[in-house]
Symmetry: C2
């Protein structure tokens, strides 16, 4: 299987929750037009995305909901059973630890870490919060572990270093500020502030008609 285009990848991930919903409603099959409307994309685009995974549709009928879900999930690596650890158990860390949609997609949380003594030893969802020193005891298979980093900005770089030392090579970073990581480490940054800013821009554009737009 060839590498999927970046744009397709983001859309495929968004099809999964929609398929979950359809499955929950008891739908067995779905046509590209319906699923596309649900996800806010063009039907042709959706069909093209799915055709990159192979041909899972039936002409005249559509796609089998459960089977399609499995195929997308497998392709995205969700079925490979990743193990998650969360570093930084503040509000955001706790939110991520209890975020059920993640667990549903095959990401199981196996460890929680924090630096603050008053947090260490407390429990979240039945898991005890541990100090970073115990990282290696918890992470038994670093190649299959993804670290979610939700620490305050100042601590992030040293956390990344410790994770790298423990052999972890996949990081989802919610902490603002760029970090340097060894080349074998894949770091994906998520910036919640940017999302707000993009929304604000769009609203501003819609509300204040451009001066160069002639009335029609």
């Amino acid at each position: 299987m060839n590498a999927l285009p970046e744009a397709t990848l983001a859309r495929l991930a968004s099809y999964l929750p929609a398929l979950d919903r359809l499955h929950a409603e008891g739908r067995e099959t779905v046509a590209s037009g319906d699923l596309a409307a649900e996800c806010g994309v063009n039907p042709a685009q959706l069909r093209k995305d799915l055709s990159l995974l192979g041909s899972y549709g039936t002409r005249g009928v559509g796609y089998e909901v459960a089977y399609l879900h499995d195929q997308i999930n497998r392709e995205l690596g969700g079925a490979s059973h990743w193990q998650l650890i969360i570093v930084g158990i503040g509000n955001l860390g706790r939110a991520l630890a209890t975020h059920t949609p993640m667990a549903v997609r095959g990401f199981g949380v196996i460890g929680l870490f924090d630096a603050a003594p008053e947090v260490i030893g407390t429990r979240v969802e039945g898991l005890e919060v541990r100090p970073m020193a115990e990282l290696r005891q918890v992470v038994t298979d670093p190649a299959r572990t993804i670290a979610v980093v939700a620490t305050p900005g100042a601590a992030t770089q040293s956390v990344i270093d410790e994770l790298a030392d423990a052999g972890i090579r996949s990081v989802l970073n919610f902490s603002p500020g760029r970090v340097v990581a060894p080349p074998e480490m894949l770091v994906r940054a998520v910036d919640l502030g940017s999302e707000l800013q993009i929304l604000a821009y769009h609203r501003q554009m819609l509300s204040t008609p451009a001066a160069d737009t002639v009335a029609n």
Copy 2:
């Protein structure tokens, strides 16, 4: 000023934190190559992005850090002083309420709302959590208000309806599941699960060399 391309928009938002950092380090000017490296983009791309806002650079020197930051921030609508309300004060809601990078960029939180009686009346960062019934008392200027929705899935649609009734037209939705909203309402969905899945896919690709890649 014309509408900015969607792709440029996302990058501009990512330049702001980098400029913040440079400013904090005392840098007065920065060349496109340096800032681009910091943000992980192509230097020509960065120059083209900035040129869409006007010509703020000096040939042979670079861009003035503080001035460039102000220009981008203004263009993105951050300086328009948006008022934020947060609906759903669970862990994620609390995390967003205390997320300082947001406040820094001109987004001030003016209200917190939740449905659970045991949460109503508690305080987060000095703000009292209120029931949705008090929405209109808090939101005095709905056109300048952005609602951040962090409710559990089942409650989301009714929350959107109530927000629409109160005249709010901008929503950042962290809740999974598609919602229907009136046409004048702009809803931007953020799915934290997708980010994990995209990361997992990339790691899977890097770790298992494609069969069709000939050794070289």
